[in-house]
Every structure is written in C-alpha cells, then in structure tokens.
Symmetry: C2
Subunit: 316 residues, 2 copies
C-alpha cells in the first residue's frame, strides 16, 4: 500500500489514510457523490430511508488479540447491516468513523477497512463517507442506510396466538467468546463464528414478504432481545427449549466449561440471527425454526417458567 510495515497512523497522516481507505471502498450505482466532499449524495428509491447506528469500542466489543483487524471490520459492518435486515430491508450505504491512537499500525486500519468493505459487498452496500480522528482507544462508529421493498417489520407487531421463529446460527458466537475468555482457541467453528458472524442477510426481506408480524436481530442475547419484542408489542413470549438442536461444538464447550449448552443459545448475542413472529405456522418461511409462542401478558419465559441464567449483554 506504499506504507512501510511498521508505519503508524501518525506517520501516514489523515489525508493519506483517507485516500487509502477510499481506494478500498467501491461505490454503488446509488452514489451520486461519494467520499471526499462535505457530504455524500445518494439516490434513494421508494421514498424512504431506513437508518441505524452502532458504536464498537476496543476492549469492550473486541480485543485485538482475539480477532484480526479484518475480523473486526467484518463484525462492525455485520452488526449494522443486520439492523436493516431486522426491519425487513436491505442496506445500500454506510458511513464509518474511526477514532484511534496515533500509534495504531496503518496496516491494522487498512485491514479493518478491507474486512468492512468485504462484509458490505455481501449485500451490495457501499461505504460512502467517514471520519478519522485521534483518540486514546479505538472507537468505530458506523451508520447504515437501507431500504425496504414493503412495510418495515417493527418490534411492536407481535400478537397473542403468533408463533415465534428463529433464522440463523444462535449461540455459536457466545460459545466462541466463552472459550476465548478462558484462553482457548477451539472449537474453531465457534471462535470463527464469534470473529465473523454470518447474519442471514436475505432472511429479513423474506420474512417481511411472508407477513412477519414483528422482528429483531439477536445482538445482545436471545432472551434479552426477545424481551424488546415482548415489551414493544405488549405480549408475553414463551421459548420452547425442545425446539433447539444444540450443535455438537456447544455440547463440547458446555462440558469443558461446566455450562449448560442451551445457556449459550438463550443468553448469547453476536450471531445476529433473526427472531420474528408470524400469525400462524403456515406463514413461517423455509429456513426458519419455530421456537416458541406468543401469548397474553408480558415478559419472556422459557418452557413456561422464569429463566434463571443470564439473558444477554449489559452495556453499562
């Protein structure tokens, strides 16, 4: 890239770095004005834009010794793209701000940008703008813009009598995080799931077209995020643990760490699986598993009872 291998952000300087980043970000056909002006200008169809934003902080959301810069780029993009997925839409454009120490290797920043761009390319989205500044720790700020082809699916539409369904891997990333936290690097499948989540990017739109009544992506924890659907919809939700096929690596980790394998599934986030409710089982599209039911009342239960374990991630 023209930088010596030990070059830092301070060596490269703001404008050199921005030029190097921009080279890594191909621009889609919606981009009328791309990076490099006071603002980007995007062509928008369907008369609306879906927008979400997320912060990713070193030491809190990632560790440089647990994930490569490219992995961090993939994850930061994935968690934002997933928010548009969870509305039943598809992302088309993102901005990314990077605050970082002056002694951060340029190579880390470039690898981060490469991973970020690769994840965005999975849905055909472009990075259209950003900002770069100095800070004492790495903070990544992403905003994602997208569009729906039909009405967005909110958290508030679940009704008593609906069925609850899940699409995508769930608990894998939490299993990976647990083994990394104990200093292990295997089972490899779980560690990789933590490093590079694979959100089901097509499933959100399919769910919306199939008439999903509510939807959310699992970022903080299945039960915690389900709690948002229950609260926003004014309903009770019961999760049936018998519906889950606990994958073999989670059994292995549970045995090694003395934990119930199902706890990774119920309390884990970071896989960005989708949870949605449907008016009836016959509405549930292919690829989704029915894992529970919506009733009158409030709150989330597991097999009809209050759950004793951790339900998800706490931000403060």
């Amino acid at each position: 890239m023209g930088y010596p291998p030990d070059a830092t952000l301070a060596d490269a300087g703001e404008f050199g770095l921005i030029a190097a980043f921009v080279d890594l970000f191909p621009q889609g056909e919606q981009v009328l004005v791309g990076p490099g002006d006071d603002a980007a200008v995007l062509r928008v169809r369907n008369g609306h834009v879906v927008v979400s934003t997320d912060l990713v902080v070193e030491g809190r959301h990632f560790r440089r010794d647990w994930a490569s810069a490219e992995d961090v780029g993939h994850r930061a993009a994935a968690q934002n793209l997933s928010d548009i997925n969870a509305m039943g839409g598809r992302a088309h454009s993102l901005t990314v701000g990077l605050a970082a120490p002056a002694d951060l290797p340029v190579q880390w920043a470039l690898d981060f940008a490469r991973g970020f761009a690769e994840e965005c390319s999975l849905v055909g989205a472009s990075v259209v703008g950003g900002d770069l500044t100095r800070a004492s720790e790495i903070v990544i700020a992403v905003t994602v813009l997208g569009a729906c082809t039909q009405a967005p699916v909110l958290r508030s539409g679940a009704r008593p009598g609906d069925v609850l369904a899940l699409h995508g891997r769930q608990g894998w990333a939490a299993g990976g995080l647990a083994v990394l936290g104990r200093g292990f690097r295997s089972p490899r499948a779980l560690v990789e799931a933590y490093r590079r989540p694979e959100p089901p990017y097509d499933a959100g739109r399919v769910a919306a077209e199939a008439g999903a009544t509510s939807m959310i992506d699992v970022s903080d924890g299945l039960l915690a995020d389900l709690g948002h659907i229950a609260a926003a919809s004014g309903v009770a939700v019961d999760v049936h643990t018998s519906a889950f096929d606990v994958p073999e690596p989670l059994h292995a980790v549970g045995a090694a760490l003395g934990a119930e394998p199902i706890s990774f599934i119920l309390g884990g986030g970071d896989d960005h699986a989708l949870l949605a409710t449907y008016a009836s089982v016959s509405d549930v599209p292919e690829g989704w598993s029915v894992i529970g039911a919506v009733g009158q009342g409030s709150g989330v239960t597991v097999d009809g009872a209050e759950y004793e374990g951790p339900t998800g991630w706490t931000h403060f």
Copy 2:
C-alpha cells in the same frame, strides 16, 4: 429527570438513559419510525439523501472545563449540520452515538443531549436514532442526513475567473480557543463563539440557488479548507487580506497573545463559516463578502504570496 444529582451512567443503566434521551428529541414529520426499533425509517423527498458523519473526542475536540455539556452538544450538532449546509442542502435527521466512561454524570449526558437537540431545532432536524456504550473517554459520533432543493454544490466546481466569497463569522472560535488555551475566559464574545458556533444555516441553500460554483464550510481552517476547493477544482485561489474587517476582539487577543489578528481568520476553523466561489461578483448573494479570486494553477496564496503561518488543524 428523576436521577439524583450525583448519578452516573452506570447508575442509570443503558435503557433508562436511552428513554431519557428520547424524551429530549422531538420527531419531525419525516419520521415514519423513530428511535426504539432496530432502525429508524424516514420519508425522503426529491429522490436523494445527503449524508455526512463526524467524530468528536474529549480532550481533542473539546474539554469539559472549557465548555459545558450543553455547549458540547451544540457544537457536535453544528459541525454536522454545517456539512449539509456546505452542500447547499438542509439537514432533516441525525443519529448520535455516545461512548462514555461509566462514571460520567448522567446530568452531563442529559445536558449534552439537550444542547444537541436545541441546535438541531434551529434547522428543524430530528434526532432519529443513536447508540450508547461504555468507553474510557467520551467519543461522540454524529451522522446527519439532509436534502437539497437543487443540485448539490461540490468542492470541485471552481473555475479560473471565479470570485471567492465568505459568509459568517470567521476566526472568532480560533480566537476563543487561543485565550482558553492560555487560561483566560475573555474576550467573552470569542470564547462564546468557540463554545457555540453559529453556522449560517440558511446561506448554503441561498448560495446554491445563486449558482455558487463550489462550496465548503470552514471547519479545520480557512486556508486549509480552501486548499480542498483548490485541489478538487484544479485551480489556484488567492485570498485578499484587505477584504477582511478584523473584528475588535481579535485585535485585543492578538495584542494580548502577541499574534497577528489576521492569523486567527486565515488559520482558524470551528466557526463553520461558508466559503464559496461564484462565476462573477454579480452572482454573490447578500451577506457574503468577496475575499479573493480563482485563477489557473494550483494551491492557495495570500495576497499573491505563499502564506507562512499555520493554515489549519492537523488530525494526526
């Protein structure tokens, strides 16, 4: 707000804080789905969206002993709203991410949000989403969305023969920052200008309608930002110092600090004044001052010669 005066972010918890913030952010008529779901949904007119993003870092872009939380909120919003202004557009929606230490007083965060919302209300824009997370220092990430009623004004449209014009206070914030850096609190007008810039929010659209050929807002420094116009347009720009009315407080600060008053105007940023080029003097709208001329060549000169002083802010 229901919090004891010494409550911290950790005491309040993520969801309590988000609810308190959302109460401070009124939603405009463009907001179809506001804060509280996986993403916001905005109605968009004219088939396009103008988008920009900026990071604001404690200790680098602000100090808590130099500006109140409300001031920081005003500034963080202003610098983003100004980016849309500099395209000839108007902002309608923003997202704001706040990364902060767990021991930050809740009151600081609420005052910040109040200042942020107040600044947005000056242009009728709404805060439609955000994120809140823990970090070791305060990092504020803002993304702003807006629209133009005519073609956006880029940095790249200046042509030899154009005139260069300025709208808005320029150098005041730099003067304020200089006195704060020496431990003073006056002249008050300059310190206030630093704490709460007053970008000329209507001037960008007027300039676009008047046929401005290029435009930028002065955020890093007049000569530095003018350098972006020169580079993007492939032209040379000369600034005429005789065109500036140096305001009295800048004379006072210059005398007190042993600096040329004009240096605050030429090298200072943070006021978010607008610089634009016009094909002829007769195109220049009311309220703008002609301060220079565009010629063939490259780079920025002052009174026909290279400028020796600092031209603006360096990010790394």
